[in-house]
Amino acid sequence: MNVMSLINQWLPLLIVFSSFFIGLVIFFLREESYHLRTFLNLLVAVGKLVLVGFLIWGVYHGQVYEIRWVIAPELELYLHADALSVLFVTLSALLWLVTTIYAIGYLENSPHRSRFFGFFSLCVSATVGLALAGNLLTFVIFYEFLTLATYPLVAHKGREEARKAARLYLAYTLGGGMVLLVGVIWLKSIVGPLTFVQGGILDTLPVDVHDELRWIFLLLIIGLGVKAALVPLHGWLPKAMVAPAPVSALLHAVAVVKAGAFGIVRVVYDMYGVEFAAELGVLLPLGIAAAITIVYGSIMALFQDGLKKRLAFSTVSQVSYIALGASILGPLATIGGIVHLVHQGIMKITLFFAAGNYAETLGIHKVSEMNGVGKRMPLTTLAFTIAALGMIGIPPVAGFISKWYLGLGAMEAGALGWVMPVLIASSLLNAAYFLPILYRAWFVPAAVDWPQEKITSGRYGETRAMLLWPPLITATIALLAGLLAAMPFSPLEWVELIAAREYR
């Protein structure tokens, strides 16, 4: 029994800090010790996935994994694994492994790899940490830590443009972090300890603090909205796409943007409680902000010729589905929003992997250069196609399931009148900026020369194996997450478990 409780304490700690320590080790590796670094990277990524496997099993069977560490009175670090954290931890661990493989292939022979992988590992540590955070304070600490760990990654290429984008990123996120912190401290002064509890903890407060709670909600959402790229706080995201492809992939799929969205979900469901938030009347403004972001991001994406830039605006739009789901009262909308946390991640990471492959292999950076690329790189383009169709919401790819539940949730809450037009507009706009890419790639004959062909297709296929496999794997997952949505332990099934516990 004692051993059990020891494991229950150590498991979350191990999951969070394994990559932290490996990251520190990697910093001190020499640049040319490629094999050792690769071994360490993969070891910790695979190891973490195995640990997460244990965690899933345990949480499903009602085990409690938690560890507390009181730093000072009223100041407690608290890691706790509930169903929602497990969902996000699993997503992070899985996509991290894939991205690590991709990054190793992508950065072959480029300088500063030890620095890159060091921060890369710190970054996963931060993401997993905020996923497992059991109270708002712990969440904020990891949230800020994430900001600092990603800054060097965005600036990695070291060119003026990259440094500028990274500075902008830092300005936005530190500013957002400040606002968040103010909100948290204010809230703490009213409530005391801010433990995340399914169903929320604020509904017992007296009526006279309700106004304060509304203001605090605004502060929290602004603080989190910077990372979640809610319009008009999204300015850094399209600029940050100068980062290397694996970083963009992570930024858009699990790490930064998702941290913001995950935070919004935590605040709405496990701090305020969605029913109480509805009572306060703060959900509708959140929903409107999300709706504006969804439509605005899609429209902006329409006008981008840069492939990664178009994908970046698409992220602005798609991530707000999560906030939209959170802003609609009712279990079905909750399912739609939270499941999109996973679905958007696997689809968007596929798109960025593919975009990186085009750039690395053929020097393609623009949509207008993609003519006929399907014939030259069929597998990469197939992966891109699956993910793009999923973004539009075409079955059986995962995005379809998200829209299905968001629509149903809106119907259940009687909010169909304003949610459905947003979903329709967004689907049509998604089609309008993704289908022309697919048309160019598959139906228009290629130009005589690619912009800059760096990797010739040969014995090993259309590009390096380590670049090719990651998008294929994630595209397959994206397809299966929709096709087998009703399978036990699918993202949808797991999220249904979460939603059932949020509404008591």
Partner: protein
């Protein structure tokens, strides 16, 4: 007996999956023969299992159920047989090189979607099939590379995506009321008027309701013959099928919409003919004829949806009409392909025969379908009889125009090299012709009222006397408006 059920279940699951597996086989000369073979499991399912056989696939999508009932089995038979013919025709007819792979993959995806939407007993699977069919057929349309085809493809894709998004909205609203995504929860559900309208609009694009029809003549005119045959023959019928699946017949809101479908269908029936008469390309004339015939089907569906229990005679008439139109129109489109290669006068004569069958010549499927339709009309709608006669007359005129365009085409291409047909092409067209001519005999000799043949004869005579000079672009009024706008802009901007 359990063995038989097990076998049926297996084949029901296999019917949509088999084509996808075949899509992976190299499309060389032997591999091309897999095109017609892809429908074998579907044909088996259409003929052998008892209606009511279903398979539950609890892990698939949101929990899926596939199976057949009386209506869907007939739809499946009609569909699968035309796919078989189109596949056979395409064995040697598709362009060489990378085009082969592309055609193969999109053919199989479209086929798979088409079968799935018929077998689906739940809304998610239906939508999956519907979307796959709609999007993948874009790749089939885009066979030749030309400005016209590219434009046609774009118009087709825009309307298809629009239809799918609207249908999706409708499905979500239906689902919000029924609470279950299985179709057996639909009958009797009191849907909102908005939900019914959304479903109808989404499917109405496939049905080419007047105003939503722009894509049809453009796409059907530009696609290769076998693909046009499939589009016009079976894929647009997914609209009828979907309406019957999603809308709970006889409920208040459905009756309200259904009452509109009758006049709307009638308008479509005559509008299609009127514009079709002004066309010069044979396949565009046929496409407008499809719009017109879809109008009649829409009308009939509208009548069926007004009663909670579908009148068996009406449903039977609908199925006869669907079979009649699917196969005749398929044979006409493939026949145009045959004609354009051979430029043979014999082919024109055969096409003339088919044209008369479509119009409703006695002793043919046209007369059978229209006769049973007329016999089944409920009392409240007996006034439609005269309109049906008029529509027969109009269709005959349109078919006259069709033959006229063939002669014009022949005169224009007199100097062109004639291409001899390959064996599979002859085989495919021949088989379909025999199907068209002989399947009505299964229903025994029909009493012939020569009065009803009158409009056909009259139409034929008038058609012979007329030669048209006016023409309107495919896509008619909306396209004209767009052209006009650009011309105006040019003039204004200098």
């Amino acid at each position: 007996m359990t063995d038989m059920t097990g076998m049926s279940s297996l084949l029901i699951v296999l019917a949509p999956l088999w084509p996808l597996l075949l899509a992976l086989v190299r499309p060389d000369r032997i591999g091309q023969w897999l095109l017609p073979l892809a429908v074998i499991p579907a044909l088996w399912v259409a003929l052998i299992p008892e209606p009511g056989t279903t398979v539950d696939l609890p892990w698939l999508l949101l929990g899926s159920r596939w199976g057949v009932d009386d209506t869907s089995q007939v739809f499946l038979l009609i569909t699968a047989w035309l796919w078989f013919i189109a596949g056979l025709y395409s064995v040697s007819g598709t362009p060489a090189g990378a085009g082969l792979w592309r055609f193969r993959i999109f053919f199989m995806l479209t086929l798979s979607g088409n079968i799935l939407l018929i077998l689906a007993q739940d809304m998610a699977a239906f939508f999956l099939g519907f979307a796959a069919m709609g999007l993948a057929s874009y790749g089939m349309i885009m066979q030749q590379r030309s400005v016209t085809v590219t434009r046609a493809g774009r118009v087709y894709l825009i309307w298809t995506v629009l239809g799918e998004v609207i249908l999706f909205t409708g499905i979500v609203m239906v689902l919000g009321t029924t609470g279950s995504h299985y179709f057996d929860s639909v009958p009797g559900a009191e849907l909102s008027l908005v939900a019914v309208s959304m479903v109808t609009l989404g499917l109405g694009i496939k049905l080419a309701l007047p105003g939503l029809h722009v894509w049809l003549p453009i796409a059907h005119g530009a696609a290769p013959p076998a693909v046009s045959a499939l589009l016009s023959g079976v894929m647009v019928k997914a609209g009828v099928f979907g309406l019957l699946r999603f809308l709970p017949a006889g409920t208040e809101s459905v009756v309200q919409v259904a009452e509109w479908l009758v006049p709307l269908g009638l308008v479509g029936a005559f509008y299609g003919v009127a514009i079709g008469l002004l066309q010069t390309a044979p396949k565009v004339v046929l496409a407008y004829s499809t719009m017109s015939q879809l109008g009649l089907l829409t009308m009939l569906t509208g009548i069926i949806l007004q009663q909670p229990q579908a009148e068996p005679a009406l449903l039977f008439a609908l199925l006869l009409y669907v079979a009649h139109h699917a196969w005749v129109k398929g044979a006409l489109f493939i026949g145009v392909g045959v004609f354009k290669k051979t430029l043979s006068i014999w082919v024109i004569l055969l096409l003339g025969l088919l044209a008369l069958v479509l119009a409703g010549l006695p002793y043919t499927s046209g007369a059978l379908a229209k006769g049973s339709l007329k016999a089944a009309l409920p009392g409240a709608y007996s006034w439609l009889e005269i309109w049906l006669l008029l529509s027969t007359f109009a269709t005959t005129l349109l078919m006259g125009r069709f033959l006229w365009t063939l002669f014009a085409y022949r005169a224009h291409h007199a100097a062109t090299q004639r291409i001899s047909l390959r064996l599979p092409e002859w085989l495919a067209w021949g088989l379909l012709l025999e199907t068209v001519l002989f399947w009505p005999l299964l229903f025994g000799a029909q009493p012939v009222k020569w009065v009803e043949a009158l409009p056909v004869l009259l139409g034929a005579v008038i058609a012979l006397l007329m030669a048209w000079r006016v023409r309107v672009p495919a896509g008619d009024l909306p396209v004209l408006a767009v052209h006009g706008f650009f011309r105006l802009r040019k003039r204004v901007l200098g």
